[in-house]
């Protein structure tokens, strides 16, 4: 059988990070011994070449904080030599001018900086680290070096009401793209659901602000608004479909179909140290398990809307977390017998307290 071609490689270079964001998509067990065995430079560069041969064009250098890898400029040079378009997804805290210049000459294509809130105090509270001023300084360096700049912000109950300020800040910093991603409830967002789940009214107001900004500013700033799926009644095509467009490589070389896939206990992940990426993509258990539509159960199997190839049954990790079965229909779907669990989650108990991301053990603020 002919497999789909991947377009994106998400390289999680390290789970070390100076920030402690309570919605981090990294696994809760980032402190696990296995993640300390980070890949060597040559493993990564070989993986980039193998990814390009499979069809990958876009490389996301992420983490944790990818700037903590001392060989980052070598990795950027390797990505460019392999023919990949590389994006650095950074908190901006370690983004000095000297290092940025080295990355530029190595061939890095694009820089994306996260902002937790347009308000300094609030940013630093959410990030669990005094980082706002460094982020702004980093964004200025990105522009001075003529990189395209993306500002991303993960949205939730505690920052959604500041979306206009955020858009103004992004415009002021010269961002070409703004990624507004409503929190997805994986990783660290799960224990923080009560602190993050927004109200419907907040989301409506924010979406209207985005629309107004788009009309005022036009195509010079591309604003992406990632819908909060807990307020939907049809699921999203998670990762563009399982094993269909994207490959995630964890810091230790484990290869996953999505960042949260390690929460599915029945899956075994092959490692780039032991297997060629082509075999992992085409034949490994983790990528084959939910690829295509043959694995689907009811109600997906006979979807009344015929959406099997549109949403691919939604998210496997969410299905597992809310139903106990990773092969169930994503309960975001109104045809799921468990849809009421998603509806009930919208009424989360509200707290402002975060469980901060931490390598050793979760700490309460």
């Amino acid at each position: 059988m002919l497999q789909p071609r991947p377009a994106t490689l998400i390289a999680e270079l390290s789970y070390q990070c100076p920030l402690h964001c309570p919605y981090c998509s990294n696994p809760l067990d980032i402190g696990h011994e296995k993640y300390r065995q980070e890949l060597e430079t040559e493993h990564w560069i070989r993986t980039f070449r193998e990814a390009r041969a499979l069809g990958v064009l876009q490389l996301a250098l992420t983490g944790g904080e990818p700037m903590l890898r001392r060989d980052l400029d070598e990795l950027c040079a390797g990505a460019r030599a392999a023919g990949l378009y590389s994006s650095l997804i950074t908190a901006g805290v370690n983004f000095t001018r000297e290092r940025a210049e080295a990355l530029k000459s190595a061939g890095l294509d694009h820089v994306q900086i996260s902002i937790q809130s347009p308000d300094q105090e609030d940013n630093d509270r959410i990030a669990g680290n005094r980082s706002f001023e460094k982020k702004v300084a980093a964004a200025r360096v990105v522009k001075e070096l003529d990189f395209p700049l993306t500002i991303n912000c993960v949205l939730h109950r505690q920052n959604l009401d500041r979306i206009e300020e955020l858009l103004d800040l992004a415009l002021d910093l010269g961002a070409q793209r703004v990624e507004l991603a409503n929190t997805q409830y994986y990783g660290w967002a799960v224990p923080n659901q009560d602190a993050l789940m927004p109200s419907w009214e907040q989301l409506q107001r924010a979406e209207q602000a985005v629309q107004r900004f788009r009309e005022q500013v036009g195509p010079s700033v591309d604003v992406l608004w990632v819908l909060p799926d807990f307020y939907e009644d049809l699921p999203k095509p998670c990762m563009g479909g399982w094993g269909r467009t994207a490959i995630v490589v964890a810091p230790n070389g484990d290869v996953l179909p999505c960042q949260a896939a390690s929460t599915i206990p029945a899956l075994e992940f092959a490692n780039v140290r032991e297997h060629p990426l082509e075999w992992i993509w085409n034949e490994s258990d983790a990528f084959m398990r939910f690829r295509g539509t043959d694995w689907m159960q009811e109600p997906c199997r006979t979807c009344p809307l015929g959406r099997q190839e549109l949403d691919f049954g939604g998210c496997r990790c969410q299905a597992l977390r809310l139903t106990g079965d990773a092969a169930a229909t994503d309960p975001v779907c109104r045809f799921s017998p468990h849809h009421e669990r998603v509806v009930a989650a919208r009424e989360s108990a509200q707290t402002d307290e975060f469980v901060y991301r931490a390598i050793k053990r979760p700490v309460r603020a």
Binding site: R52, D109, R177
Partner: protein, 87 residues
């Protein structure tokens, strides 16, 4: 639009896996037919649309490509992928 150029960070590349030209942009790729790729290679911020048309016309034995060039430049400008170097 006086002198079109690719937006900052956009890069033309030939994808030898899919055997097609692509315009790579931050976290995206636009598939291009061979003509579109030729036009975009000339969008260097130096040439005007007229100069791009006449360069291509000379290359293709006088064929009138004005509508094709203008249509492509306009379409990509609306998507924010081509900008005016003179602006």
């Amino acid at each position: 639009m006086t002198r079109p150029r690719l937006v900052t960070g956009a890069r033309l590349q030939y994808d030898d896996v899919r055997e097609e030209h692509v315009l790579l942009v931050p976290e995206g790729a636009v598939r291009l037919n061979p003509t579109a790729a030729e036009v975009l290679e000339l969008c260097d911020g130096e040439r005007s649309v007229d100069e791009i048309v006449s360069t291509l016309s000379a290359r293709y034995e006088g064929a009138d490509l004005r509508d094709d060039v203008q249509g492509l430049v306009d379409g990509l400008t609306q998507r924010g992928l081509v900008v005016d170097a003179a602006a």
